[in-house]
Symmetry: D5
Subunit: 187 residues, 10 copies
């Protein structure tokens, strides 16, 4: 079975954020919504555009009470160096986790053991540390971070309104569905 509906296993790691090295762990996922975004390697090609795109959504996500984490199997030292030298990456304000031990990539089942690099996986985690959405793309195919905002809103709506579900293409404010016996076979 996929990770959907499962609690993230415990880990701890070092990360870079806003000019500081900080400690992060699976405890960070308790009490607020989280987006965790894996990518293969610093100083490569698709990655910076994706990470920049994610930064562009950071304010909107923060407003929704979401913290954002990027993860690669590079060290936090390399994250800082990349942040220092790349224009795109230099804008990043969210938390960049170093996973040289492969521990977190293994927990999220995105480690390519052959190369030692992570698949491009994006995970939305609810305030109980439970995985709500998984999205993984093969290398070469960029992600679109803007879809995260809508997914988060839907996930938050469902969490806050037990008994309602969001239909396909749901947008904030649109009608939801209240599952009931009468609806069975009627949609």
């Amino acid at each position: 079975m996929s990770l959907i509906g499962k609690k993230v296993e415990a880990f701890s790691a070092q990360a870079f954020q806003k000019g500081e090295f900080i400690d992060v762990s699976s405890e960070n996922f308790q009490g607020q919504w989280s987006v965790v975004c894996f990518y293969p390697a610093d100083f490569t090609f698709v990655c910076p555009t994706e990470l920049e795109d994610l930064q562009n959504q950071y304010a909107a996500l923060k407003e929704l009470g979401v913290e954002v984490y990027s993860v690669s199997t590079d060290t936090h030292f390399t994250h800082k160096a990349w942040h220092d030298s790349s224009e795109a990456i230099g804008k990043i304000e969210y938390i960049m986790i170093g996973d040289p031990s492969h521990n977190i990539s293994t927990i999220f089942d995105v480690l390519d053991e052959q190369s030692g690099l992570a698949n491009r996986g994006t995970f939305i985690i609810d305030p109980d540390g439970i995985v709500q959405t998984v999205e993984i793309n093969a290398d070469g195919i960029g992600r679109d971070a803007s879809t995260l905002v809508n997914k988060i809103k839907a996930a938050q709506y469902v969490r806050n309104n037990p008994g309602e579900v969001c239909p396909a293409k749901w947008q904030e404010g649109a009608a939801t569905l209240k599952p009931s016996l009468e609806l069975v076979g009627k949609i």
Copy 2:
């Protein structure tokens, strides 16, 4: 490691399409692009809106040379019955696979063994039968099938143009990146 980059294991099953019962198997994934869309159960709530949404993209996907398969652990008999009785489902022209043996849901790692139902997973598979993208949502959060068209286009572009990669938010016709030593650390 996730299914990304792996070939789908062999299976065979019965399906419903356009008023007929047909045999499908993993062989169908050879030679053309495929979208495989799992959902928990026929005659339920979010599912029909997602499946209808997918039907709305079917023509566009077909034009891109993509075949579409929906899968639940219901039988093909139940698929036909749902198709007969539901206005939304009655529009569906793509292939609806029955997986009562749980075989396909297990291969795609989306089976919830407790309930015997599939997670809401969407997979893009290339003409070699290799998984290119994975997207799985918790129950209650609807998918947006329109994002599939863009992903397919990006995946097709990358396949047809070896040595180029699509950046984040890439749209057909937009610039791609040619990975080269000079670009390292320059983006």
Copy 3:
């Protein structure tokens, strides 16, 4: 050894009855007689005639203090949809259990793992939850629910009259046998 004389293992499931979704479990078998009738799949061929036939005996069985359960590996959603759309099934008043997890079909040893569907097995269970009779037919051969009434009566008579046994073709009110040393070799 067969299931005869053994207590049914614990399970819980969702079911459809008279326009409602209800929870059932192996606890339901405690304190009253039960008939459990497995069939392969909703919306198929022999099945509805068998289920309708069983409904025709439902009043008689109820009078004997027997509850009736049908089970397939379809969901309770599909049961409702079938109930809504089929004239034969629409008459059914007994409990239709959904077993998409295959759990109950495995407990009663009637799951065909290849297809994920149940064999056509009928079980009479006494108020202690002990299996008293087993009857299983290959697909294509319909059952005759009327034979259940006689079997139940015989089983009830034996339970209520310890020390007596019902001979072949026994009908309610007919003579029974009191096993005794003198009878050995005399019948």
Copy 4:
């Protein structure tokens, strides 16, 4: 999974029929229909009435091309002695197999290991040696052999008319069902 649809495993044994001791084996099940009827013990109570009842159907079954076998864990010597001394058993013309090694009772999964006696199981086997129906009753509840004739007729009809199925309560000459896509959800 039950024995339904499985070939009977190989065995050989000694039996009594019409004043002779004969050898029988699983080979006997090849090329004609068979009814195999297990019972606990010679010289006991319900058993002779059931065996007599079965004898009463023997001519009808023979006419349908069916051979009949009774089996207990007694020896063929005891079968002969019972046949010699019991009025009811003395009428029996079918084959009475001795299974003191417990081998056949184990193959048909009806051995009660505690007592060393067989459950009251009745099996219909087709000319390929494949089990078509299973019926097992707890001790104290007699069987009704007359139901065998109808079951055999239905099984033979289905075997001879591939693509048709017999509905519940089917009687020879009554209408059968031809499964077709159009029938799905229409019965």
Copy 5:
């Protein structure tokens, strides 16, 4: 090592004696001498002459405080039937144990698993439940029960006179040997 000098393992069974069905168990071997006589099957050939021969010694054995048990893998029902119908067996007054579960025959290591029948073994058991003599003949060779009386007398003498041993061909009242250092190499 053989069973000589070992205590008989626990068992319980049903038996026939003097027109009654009774319960027997390994507890019966405590506190008095026992003879246990296995034979293959009721209603066969050598067996009744052996059992009749044993009956002829029954009074003499009883006088020595010995209880006698015959055992076959037939049921106690069959024992009664044989007793009722056979002149030779009808005379038997000792206990006829039914062992259809093969349990006792296995404990005494006389079960022929191929046939499910017991070897023709005779055992003398002392009042502590310890096996004192074993005698087993191939089928076709009858036993002579009269030798049991002498063996029992020798075994009882040795038990009652610790420190003395009975020489070959010893008869009640004849001289015994008192083992002593002086006798070593002198006989």
Copy 6:
């Protein structure tokens, strides 16, 4: 299962007979009848009387074509010494096997591992090397070799007259039984 009906496993050993040391093996059992008589130890108490008693039957047994072997876990050297020094043993003309390796005593299942000595077991073996009778006595109870002659005669009669069996207490020349269907339940 006991050794009855089983072929003696292969062994080789050294023995003493008539002033010579000779080699014997399980091959000696091929082609003629054999009596094998185990006893605990040379230079002890019951043993010499039993061995002398056996010698007294040696001529009669020889006339029946039977060879006789005594076996203890002593060496053939000790057998010779005992033969030289004991009046009773000095008469012995049959073969005295030494089994200090415990090999033969283990094959015949009469080794008491605690003491390293053999139980008092007597075995009759037919010309195919198959065990026909087993008799074992606890220590202290002497055997009576004269019973061997009758048993051998019965075994030989049965071997030479296939289809006949010797009843209990059978003596040479007495009537035997021809098992036939008619006799079942008639004796």
Copy 7:
């Protein structure tokens, strides 16, 4: 046992040298002397001084026919970025191997699995791919690359002059020792 005297196991990897990405493998160790220098991570503290120190010996080592490889668990992308941005590292002309899969670090037994980083190990490998010297320092203690030149010279002398050995503190041109029986116990 340590790696001394053992052949390096097979691996392949990507590396950065002089502005190019190149493929390297254990095959590179065949046919010329090699120095392999592990360090924990790019963009850290002791590391660049060590790597610069190694570069300062590169010409001397090259003259001795030695190729030099540095290895960390960073990617070759990160190596390039570090080379681009660090003055010390920018001077490096030898081969910088990326080992994000941990494969090479595991082969040389220098992986700290807890952190996913390599110990500071230096290895001299002869033209047969056999490890000749191992040196590993705890973090915080810098290496002195100049000692490598002398070790290489000694190793090359010993290889080229079989039967001679280099004493402690041996310098090129100094006397060596010819092991001979006369020298035993004389030094």
Copy 8:
């Protein structure tokens, strides 16, 4: 992973020092710095020059609070004999451990099991018994003990000044590095 950063496992042994036989154990490594120097065998060729070289550094090492141990798989008796007879070895004042049981050589992973001799390994151990440096040379290549003094000084500096690290080629009194975020990517 190498031994770096690990505590030495427990051992005890006998050793020779200054004309005495003494007991040493892994406890000796607690509370002061230690150098442990393995070599293949007494009375051989490179070994005495290395051991003499180590003696030449002994005073300097002692001044740094370091105890020195040499180890071979020879006995302490042989160490004394070598000390008595060799001019070079006769100067040695440090502790010469005998390891004929191979126990210590196995703990330090330098035992060549084929020959039963130790590789030429040198280990620096801190006052907590933790291995700080490892150096192993193939046979034929002499070590230079003078490098130990510098390594010890660097290791002691790092231990006494937490938060500082010694760069490559560091000499006592030279500048060290204070790792800080600002230094990342700046060296």
Copy 9:
């Protein structure tokens, strides 16, 4: 490793000494010196000359506080018989243990499993039950018991004078060696 320096495992057995049968066990080895002398078999060839030779030393050994035990896999009965009939063996006053169970011969690792006889092993055991010397000869080569006296004296001297050792060919009263550092390499 050999038995030297190990405590003899526990056993108990029966033995013959001076016309009596006695119990002996490994407890007998506590508190006095013991000689244990195994030989293959009573009534054979080399054995009696060895046992007589041992008897000739018995007085001298007794004077040294040594008890003597001979052991073969014969019984104590056979030992008595041999003692009675053989002139050489009749002189024996020490303890002759019977080991028909092979237990003691196995503990001392001298059992030839093929023949079931013991090798010709002689063991000296100190008052703590610890084996001090082992001597085993192939069959055909006689032992010389007189060497035992000297070995015992040396072993007793060493036990009584801790810190001294007996040189080769040591005779009572001759000089011993006091191991000391000064002696190393001086003898």
Copy 10:
């Protein structure tokens, strides 16, 4: 079972003899008699007196066609050094094997694994490489090599005169025994 009568397992080693280092192996034991003498360690106390004593017998042993080998777990280098420095050892002309790998000591079952030293075992090996005698003394008790000459003579006599055995205390030229049936129990 002890090594008596078994062939020595294969080994190879380096040894010292008469100023040379030579290769020896288990092949050396083929074709001539061998004495193998283990001792704990060079440069110790009892050992040199034993080895000198063995040298004193070397000429006599050579004359009998016997080669002599001493073995300790010291190296052949240490053997040479001891030979050079010790007056007693300097006289030795036989082969001194070095066993630092413990291989030979393990094969002869004399290794004390705790200390890594050999027990004081002496072995006579015949020209087929079969062990004929074993003698092992605890430390502190010297051996007497002169007993070897007599043992060798006896072993050679037995080998050259099949069918004769040497009695206890046999000396060359003395009478031997020809085992024959008549002798059994007569010595």
